[in-house]
Symmetry: C2
Subunit: 233 residues, 2 copies
DNA sequence: GGACAAACGGAGAAGGCCGTCCACTTGTCG
DNA sequence: CGACAAGTGGACGGCCTTCTCCGTTTGTCC
């Protein structure tokens, strides 16, 4: 804000929610907020009240709102790390010599991430149109994904009619499991992914490994809380 | 219904939300409420405010609450028809001479129903533990389902390691699509189901029909409202 | 150490939804 | 037609959430 020599509150060009130029106590509080939010989102879902996050961080509500004016900005911050991890999973997959194995591992890894963190899935699903970092990372992920699919198909292991959009299909389907069965989500997810992967193989004649075990689901357990709330709304 | 001559407000043993013994205007209003609720649930999701339903039905809130003391009772009423339709789909499948074809058609039909009505899926997912009709129908559906799976496996067309719980897996996965992509849900659902069905076949060497076309999805469209709200919370 | 801006926390306004209460209207039966 | 119970609608209190205002505290720099 100043053009003067010292006491520069914030360097120009820094994101307003960034940590630069903050007083040390403020920075400390900000970190605690992010950590508290991470926990809260993971346990209670993305719709947890702001006040609950503030309480967890032992901070006033005003402090929270000062750092993160909207819930969206907080969510973006919290999941930025995991999102870039997601993107790096794509890079890893591309680096693999065996494209099919890379493809397969990618699907499995991302779905496992989704299954482990309720908030992550929800954050993914709420799809902020204007979160810049998200947008950039997303585009990169999409391009990498398309390339990966192309290579896996060229190798003859991935069926030719598989479309890159089908990855989104898988993620959405997987998110349905996560939303529906909180506790058994990881197991259920593994099994679903195994089924799908089998279906994605070009040579479906060859037997795959045995399926992961079934999760203890029944029509009655459909959507009943496994350990969380069971539904978002 | 009655053991007496006249003016009996309500016969004992009749369900409290039933339509019996209501004054004609009241019955009329009740019908309008159910219809309004059906529309509202389908368009806006199951969490639509009670007041909105009342307004749609051109009825006071009190009238709505008098007929349906809880949101759950209203949902139960609204989806009872579709639920029994669901159950009859199981019966149809059991009646088919070709067990595999019955199994396959069942999955496809139920998923299509889910994809068409946002509210239906949500109602299914919220899993009312004490809605009696639901419970009875559910148990019947579960037993029929198990039988169907057994027969389809006996016929050698359904893979032996398929578990009846896997049907729930499919429904949950499908509900993820419906929640995530409102407008393109039917198309997306068809494709997902096609993939899964292929994977469920015992003889995966034989080529299936071509896949249904991809829905226009991208990572960016993940969860963005196709035409509805995109998320329940 | 002292001055000052940065940062803080809690109170509370605003808005939304739920579910109830009660004074008024209307269908029904004799 | 007249009486009365059944039925109705809207206002209202309670609760929960979001977000802001403002008096007080605290870190930082000279």
């Amino acid at each position: 804000m100043s053009t003067d020599s010292s006491r520069i509150p914030r360097s120009p060009g820094t994101a307003p929610t960034g940590t630069a130029g903050l007083r040390v106590d403020a920075r400390h509080n900000r970190d605690r907020i992010v950590e508290a939010a991470r926990e809260a989102f993971s346990e209670l879902g993305i719709d947890v009240p702001m006040a609950a996050i503030a309480r967890r961080a032992r901070v006033g509500v005003a402090t929270l709102y000062r750092r993160f004016p909207t819930r969206e900005s907080l969510v973006t911050e919290v999941f930025a790390e995991q999102l870039t991890e997601c993107a790096s999973v794509v890079d890893d997959a591309l680096a693999e010599p065996d494209a099919w194995h890379g493809f397969r591992t990618l699907i499995e890894k991302v779905c496992a991430m989704q299954a482990l963190d309720r908030g992550f899935t929800e954050a993914f699903l709420s799809a902020f149109p204007d979160a810049l970092d998200y947008e950039r990372t997303r585009v990169r992920a999409e391009q990498g994904l398309a390339e990966l699919v192309r290579r896996a198909q060229a190798s003859g292991r991935l069926r030719a009619d598989f479309a890159p959009e089908d990855v989104v299909l898988v993620l959405m389907a997987n998110s349905g499991l996560v939303a529906g069965s909180a506790r058994s989500a990881p197991a259920a997810s593994r099994r679903l992914v195994a089924y799908l992967i089998e279906s994605f193989r070009a040579d479906r004649a060859a037997p795959d490994e045995p399926l992961p075990p079934t999760a203890p689901l029944s029509l009655g357990h459909l959507g009943l809380p496994g350990s969380g709330t069971g539904r978002s709304g």
